[in-house]
């Protein structure tokens, strides 16, 4: 190598990292089975795979959070032992977690300094930290104000703080764990600009994502993991999305789901100028008027935190509607108790399934009757009818292909995909008239995602009115008949499927009316 071995941050480069024959066993599971992975300076290497494929374990081993049972890690050709994240940070490895590790009530500089010794002993050295942040920010083109409080920042900005934090600690290699999951399309573009700059400067980046088109756009090489093993590594330029998807799941994947022709009927769910508060005390919804008709999927697009949760909760009775009305099949259900709304056959797949949709220490069978536990045949004269509850659970487990050792398994022991299948099974088996599905595929792997989407389309074909709230634009575009965009609690516009493009929706999601701006 003739070029400088220093990074712009002044830290040494990591020329190559090689993981060889990594095996990691957990009781009953082999998370990594002789997996190989390598990366060199100046490339974005994407790591693809379904949930449970072993991506996270492999990266946690590289970051020192787990010790491998077998295999070795070579840094610039020399074997190294990484026993803790401290070791990996000292070697120049940084990780941007999917869930940010920031303290919202502290400033950017305080967050960056957190956990590091101060150069002034017992006194803080925040001025020096701030200066260094500004320095790093200008080198890498990251706009950030060191004195801003983290809670004031958008999700995209918070991510930049995480990147700065890693750079400040001297990261030459960055592991980005699903960094785009929380971003708008525009923010994703900005992140990619930063990533390209870092790669050009000699950093090595590992990019973990489910979204094939992003992987194809940003990476130089792609490694696909399946069942803990490396299926293969390819140059991005020599592969296609279809190949990658097939590699990941080991079978053919249909990309555009079959929508079929469906007669659109009467309005089943109707909101009239609905307003409600949010958990932060600010307005959650501001005069939302929409309707969902029989046989259609109404997509609700928007960046996280623009009223999606409030919308779902206002309809399902979990949040108080301050003004406006909600109608289900013509019946005014505004501020009904959640149980009474359930009785009217509205199903709800909540966004945070473990928080709102499941009881983690209950068995699958008990969770399956969550909504109907007080009704025949599951409850007779106040006593639970265990045989019918078991039968019901077994039927749904079989019908919805829930992978579980038994119906008596506690929900917390299932994988995310299977938990969602339990929620889906429970909500769909009630023969609902309308369904609110909030982020129904978030965190699921391709196989489970495909399954959930297929089920929603089947319900639509049955004439159910489906409201699909999703931050995944691809999903909204693939499934919806009409798309409403939420921005700061307001419906910016409702766009028919035929007129919806990612660009148009992206602008609406950012609060810009295309007509006005042009």
């Amino acid at each position: 190598m003739t070029e400088s071995t220093k990074l712009p941050s002044g830290k040494p480069r990591i020329e190559t990292i090689e993981m060889r024959g990594i095996t990691k066993r957990f009781p009953g599971v082999i998370a990594n089975d002789k997996a190989d992975f390598d990366i060199h300076a100046g490339e974005v290497h994407a790591l693809l795979g379904e949930n449970g494929a072993g991506k996270s374990t492999l990266m946690k081993i590289l970051y020192g959070m787990y010790r491998p049972d077998e295999g070795e890690i070579l840094l610039n050709g020399k074997p190294v032992t990484i026993a803790s994240p401290n070791d990996s940070i000292n070697l120049g490895i940084g990780m941007i977690h999917q869930h940010f590790m920031l303290v919202p009530t502290l400033t950017v500089a305080e967050n960056v300094a957190l956990g590091l010794p101060s150069s002034r002993g017992a006194l803080t050295d925040l001025d020096r930290v701030s200066k260094r942040i500004v320095e790093l920010a200008s080198i890498y083109g990251l706009k950030i104000d060191p004195s801003a409080y983290v809670w004031q920042l958008s999700v995209g900005q918070q991510q930049r703080v995480e990147i700065i934090k890693a750079l400040y600690r001297g990261a030459a290699l960055l592991i980005l764990d699903e960094p785009t999951a929380v971003l708008t399309p525009q923010e994703v573009d900005e992140l990619f600009v930063i990533m390209r700059q870092m790669v050009k400067d000699g950093h090595a980046l590992i990019f973990i994502s489910h979204k094939l088109h992003e992987v194809v756009e940003i990476s130089n090489r792609i490694t696909v993991l399946r069942d803990g093993r490396r299926i293969g590594t390819r140059l991005t330029s020599e592969t296609t999305k279809q190949d990658l998807a097939n590699w990941m799941v080991g079978r053919e994947i249909g990309f555009a789901p079959d929508r079929g022709k469906v007669e659109i009927g009467e309005a089943r769910l109707k909101l009239e100028k609905v307003e409600c508060g949010s958990d932060r005390g600010t307005p959650g919804l501001r005069g939302v008027s929409i309707e969902v008709r029989s046989g259609e999927i109404l997509g609700i697009a928007g960046v996280s935190g623009n009223g999606q949760r409030e919308l779902a909760e206002a309809i399902t009775g979990l949040r108080k509607v301050t003004t406006g009305r909600v109608f289900l099949e013509g019946k005014d259900i505004t501020n009904f108790a959640p149980g009474d709304i359930t009785e009217l056959n509205l199903s709800y797949i909540p966004e945070e399934r473990m928080r709102d949709g499941m009881i983690k220490d209950f068995t699958i069978a008990e969770n399956m009757i969550l909504r109907e536990h007080h009704k025949m045949p599951y409850s007779r004269m106040g006593f639970l009818n265990l045989s019918d509850i078991s039968k019901h659970a077994d039927e749904l487990i079989a019908k919805f292909h829930v992978k579980t050792p038994s119906r008596e398994t506690h929900a917390k022991n299932l994988s995310g995909g299977n938990i969602q299948k339990v929620v889906l099974a429970r909500e769909i088996s009630r023969n609902p008239r309308a369904i609110i599905a909030a982020q129904p595929t978030r965190g699921l792997d391709i196989g489970a995602t495909e399954y959930v989407r297929e089920q929603l389309l089947i319900e639509r074909r049955k004439g159910v009115a489906v409201m699909l709230i999703s931050e995944d634009l691809d999903e909204i575009l693939a499934l919806s008949d009409r798309i409403a965009v939420l921005y700061e609690g307001q419906v910016m516009d409702i766009v028919p499927r035929s007129e919806a493009t990612p660009e148009r929706l992206g602008l609406l999601m950012a609060g810009v009316h295309p007509e006005v701006s042009s």
Binding site: V29, G52, D356, M358, K360, R371, K412
Partner: protein, 381 residues
């Protein structure tokens, strides 16, 4: 195989913790220049050495078990009831009042009504903090403890004034106690010992509470609310109502414990000014017994017997080897500390196994709510 060993270790953990506590106790005995083997032999003899001794153990275990059953319900519903003492007292007062008032009725009827009155008294005393928690967000740990203080003073007032034994009222000594119950109103003895019907009632109720928690809609709802109030609301459960109910039922069982003490053991209420003077601290020790029994009503039976045995046996030990009574109390405390700590160890082991087994990726680890309790819904015990 490994998982079975783990399960065995978990199940034996409370026993190991008890042994460890006795081990530390042995060190304390040695410091006092007492032979621990002799001391523990006396303890064993006092608790199990004769049919009379064993009966005494069961008599002590009865209020512990009743309180523990209530604790199983409330802790499963994620409400912490520290008010067992007060609930026992109020239950006992109501029951005693019934027993002293309706002297013309047949014995079995009065006993039945009295026990029901005790149940209701405890329910009221538990229900008040329940309502305060559910509708006014008052911390139930604080309010139940405060309710204990109120109950004690109420008892002292009543036993010195309105409910004082008329014969005592005429004397200068004015011992604060009620009149004695009629002989016909005593709970029947089960053997030629002090063992009374209350013990049998407690065991039957343990089975009933098991059925309540895992076989009824009510129990399903109490557990659901305890585990995850968000999901419970989503399920259409009126969360606040079931919070109140959990605390109310918990208090009711403690109230019944108080009533059985009066009708099965003392045949009157008497106060030394403190709550433990009447309850023998069963309102607190019942919590420990329930935790020892992993908040499972059936496991609470052996757990209560163990603590009953410790209480009775320690008395004998005190007499035989002449150790100060403070040591006996310390020994009890040691067992409590060790058992509660072992519970934390068990949970940590469980969490580690869970984390190890969890398929990686996606799901962020579920947040631990209500750390302080054991949340194990054994459905098929």
């Amino acid at each position: 195989m490994r998982s079975r060993l783990n399960a065995l270790f978990d199940a034996l953990l409370p026993v190991l913790a008890t042994l460890a506590a006795l081990g530390v106790g042995a060190v304390m005995l040695l410091i006092l220049k007492v032979n621990p083997i002799e001391a523990y032999a006396a303890l064993w003899d006092g608790a199990f050495g004769s049919s009379n001794a064993f009966a005494e153990t069961l008599v002590k275990a009865t209020p512990l078990l009743l309180v523990a059953l209530g604790i199983c319900i409330s802790f499963r519903g994620d409400v912490i009831n520290i008010g067992g003492e007060g609930q026992m007292i109020i239950g006992a007062i109501l029951a005693t009042w019934v027993g002293l008032t309706f002297t013309g009725l047949p014995g079995w009827l009065v006993v039945t009504i009295s026990l029901v009155a005790g149940f209701l008294g405890g329910a009221i005393w538990g229900g008040i903090p329940g309502v305060l928690k559910a509708y006014f967000s008052v911390n139930e740990i604080l309010s139940t403890v405060m309710m204990n203080a109120i109950a004690v003073q109420l008892m002292n007032f009543l036993l010195r004034g309105p409910m004082i034994d008329p014969s005592q009222a005429e004397l200068a000594s004015k011992i604060p106690q009620t009149a004695r119950l009629l002989d016909a109103f005593r709970l029947p003895r089960l053997a030629p010992t002090r063992l009374h019907l209350g013990a049998l009632i407690a065991v039957i109720l343990a089975i009933a509470v098991y059925i309540l928690l895992w076989r009824t809609t009510l129990g399903y709802r109490i557990r659901a609310v305890g585990q995850n109030p968000n999901a419970s609301r989503y399920a259409g459960i009126k969360v606040q109502r079931y919070m109140v109910l959990a605390l109310l039922l918990s208090g009711a069982f403690a109230g019944l414990a108080g009533a059985t003490q009066v009708f099965g053991v003392n045949y009157r209420m008497i106060t030394d000014g403190s709550s433990s003077g009447f309850t023998g601290s069963a309102g607190f020790n019942g919590i420990v017994a329930a935790l020892f029994g992993q908040l499972h009503p059936l496991w609470s039976i052996p757990a209560s017997i163990l603590f009953g045995a410790l209480l009775v046996g320690a008395n004998k030990m005190q007499r035989v080897v002449q150790v100060p009574s403070a040591l006996v109390i310390a020994l009890n405390g040691l067992v409590v500390v060790f058992v509660v700590s072992s519970e934390i160890l068990r949970k940590r082991r469980q969490r580690r196994r869970l984390a190890d087994a969890r398929q990686e990726d996606e799901t962020p680890p579920p947040t631990e709510s209500g750390e302080s309790q054991i949340k194990q819904a054994e459905t098929g015990a």
